[in-house]
Amino acid sequence: MKHEFEAVIVGSGGAGLYAALEAGANGKTAVLSKVYPVRSHTGAAQGGISAALGNVEEDKPEWHAFDTVKGGDYLVDQQAAVILTEEAIQAVYDLENRGLPFNRTPQGRIDQRRFGGHTRNFGEAPVHRACYAADRTGHMILQTLYQQCIKNDVSFYNEFQVIDLILEGNRCSGVTALELATGELHLFSAKAVLFATGGFGRMFRITSNAYANTGDGPAVCARRGIPLQDMEFFQFHPTGIKGLGILISEAVRGEGGILRNRSGERFMERYTPTLLDLAPRDMVSRAIMTEVRAGRGIRGDGKIDDFVHLDATHLGKETLMSKLPDITDFCLTYLGIDPSEKPIPVLPTAHYAMGGIPTDVHGRVIADHKGNLIEGLYAVGECACVSVHGANRLGTNSLLDLVVFGRRAGLHMAGYVKNAESPPVSADASGFALEWIRRLKDGKKGPHGGHILEELQITMMENVGIYRNERDMARAVEKIQGLRKRYLDVRVQDRSDSFNTDLLDLIELGNLLDLALITAASALNRRESRGAHSREDFPDRDDGQWLKHTLAFLDGNRVQIDYKPVDTSIWSPKPRKY
């Protein structure tokens, strides 16, 4: 079936919904979502959204911008960080005005709490900057934006999986998407398309990410010759529930929780004496792995699945129930532990992609190192790379990224479609998508995808994880290339049309394989340590060689690397100490 819209938005998390509200007010807009909108992974974000409101103590957007740049190990584009942090304030007020139930101060204002890497006066001490709704801030943002979409009658196509992007030269003219209910391939022609498809943590074995987080937007772009930026920077959140990877919010430490090793030592004192447990995530994750490898984990065997304790017992039941109720519930459900009585066993978990589809500050997709644009194509949120997160994102800045750049991209799109002509769509626009689906369902005998996915996740976890080196990453690249070859023989077990989740799983697997290859190859290429990319064989940051963004192009079963300059127009890079 063919549909015609002015704007098509793929993804219904915070970024997609915010963009839809802005674009939908001005032109015929459709939102395609592979899940029901309220199921999107924005809803799993817990701790908060930062803005220098100064409701609890003095704060300034400039401090917030600096923290963001330093937290990102100077790979952040600095003017973008200024936009993020200046527009943060109005963005939070807008959410409140639209009904978001933030926790309140005794004066009835939006309450704020401390979070990792967010500091007063350029690094002096942690600052209360994260606005929050208990420990379900993302859930409340998603709900509030979805509610506004209902109010504004936004058109949704639920359970539509994007398969391909339609490009005519350097101009985007729509997408193809598979409808889960019928198995039909739909063609959505549009003057502008926005990808807001979220992250791809499912390429790792242990992750906080949802099953849906398979990077569909970036994978589609990569296959169409669009580069992906800074894919080597993948954040491991320090505190996932041991074994499961379920996120235990940094807000636990923001409220005073302490990481301890097997002798009960507050080990962060040795790593980041000023910010202690509230150092940026890359540093805390490395500290935990260093403790574990040195035999100071709780078991003490030095194996990589050993763990440390997150101690929240001194916070008291009341704080836990009023400010961290979901965390308390997760601990009870999955561990049988009451965090007011016992410490929580935690280990880093694959959490957030700093890299993604390169964009400018209006969400417009960038095609190459010269900054040429793909006309009519936008990307925003975790699938995109503006870059405001650089080599390591600060906690609470992802929700902020969604609303600030979701709004900016939506507004820009609305203006763009007003003046743009409807682009032509060639007759074979659905060809690639149809051929892919036909192959998976052609009835030939072939392996199922389960084992390939499992091998991929283990490979990425073991070789492209927190600590990296040449040998392991080269091995990962080779392994993934082999898995991608095996993928060509994969076939569905379910050849039916209606609600064929088997087919969707295999399409998602294809996406993860493509993105894993780009991630591993980009990581292998960058011979320095910066932010979340930490190499044992190149342990130092090397600004002379590597203060630049990676642009990685998928080229068959290989990856071609190019670079793009970083905007360091405000703060020159300094050693990163906390």
């Binding site: 029901y36 009904g99 379920i246």
Partner: protein, 255 residues
């Protein structure tokens, strides 16, 4: 441990009626029921249909009936539901048309949700910063904001066995969430959906919704609070509540 998942399967158009299929999987007792189902999906039978996403009880995708109780498969540990001889039975939610196996059609559920105007209604120009709300005012609707629209309560509600038009627990909770918000001015806009013979009134306080809610919302209590707010409003206007069918059907005819 070895367990058997006995899953109710049905593919409309292909199967004449639902049937049980058994899958044997090896799992840790502390794994989630969803983990066991993913093992089946990935390594045994790709045709099995179910929804899932976040896998830790916050997205609401995988509500289903496990051993006859409405729960999220990702928030249910194998050790807590495995019966004698290692059996776990899994069925789709009740009160929904089955689309395939455990996938149900939630269109009606979301229509009911939309009918209560689930968004902040306040046409007063917003202040330059945030609206002020005290901690007590915020607390009045706190647990209602927990709802993830998973539909467990809609399946558990015994009223819906007979009265299939009943608005249902989740939509009422969503209505309450705004009625009880000190910033909201939309009480009257929501009345037509809530103060209706198939609105809040059919609830008989069976507490099945409250018992099954994976987000620990005191649903029955919120429904009763909503009823009281409507009664108070109608009393003040010298009107009666629309509990009976007659006025409703007349209204419908007028339109």
């Amino acid at each position: 441990m070895k367990i058997t998942l006995r899953i109710k399967r049905f593919f409309p158009g292909l199967d004449k009626e639902p049937y049980d299929q058994d899958y044997v999987v090896e799992v840790e007792p502390t794994e989630r029921v969803l983990d066991a189902m993913m093992q089946v999906k990935r390594f045994q039978d790709g045709t099995l249909g179910f929804r899932k996403s976040c896998a830790h009880g916050v997205c609401g995708s995988d509500a289903m009936r496990i051993n006859g109780k409405d729960r999220l498969a990702c928030k249910t540990l194998v050790q807590d539901v495995t019966e004698e001889e290692g059996l776990v039975t899994i069925e789709p939610l009740r009160h929904f048309p089955v689309q395939r196996d455990l996938i149900v059609d939630q269109t009606g559920f979301f229509e009911r949700y939309r009918s209560v105007s689930p968004f902040l209604i306040n046409e007063e120009p917003p202040p330059p910063k945030e609206r002020i709300q005290t901690q007590e005012e915020r607390l009045a609707f706190d647990d209602a904001t927990n709802c993830i629209l998973c539909s467990s309560c809609f399946s558990a509600c015994p009223i819906l066995d007979e009265n299939t038009d009943f608005l249902g627990p989740a939509a009422i909770v969503q209505g309450f969430r705004f009625l009880a918000d000190s910033r909201d001015r939309g009480f009257e806009a929501r009345l037509s959906a809530l103060d209706d013979p198939v609105g809040v009134w059919p609830c008989e306080n069976h507490f099945e919704c409250t018992k099954c809610c994976p987000r620990s919302i005191k649903i029955t209590k919120r429904i009763n609070q909503t009823k009281n707010m409507i009664r108070k409003f109608r009393d003040e206007c010298g009107e009666s509540v629309h509990e009976e069918d007659s006025s409703h059907s007349l209204e419908k005819q007028d339109q």
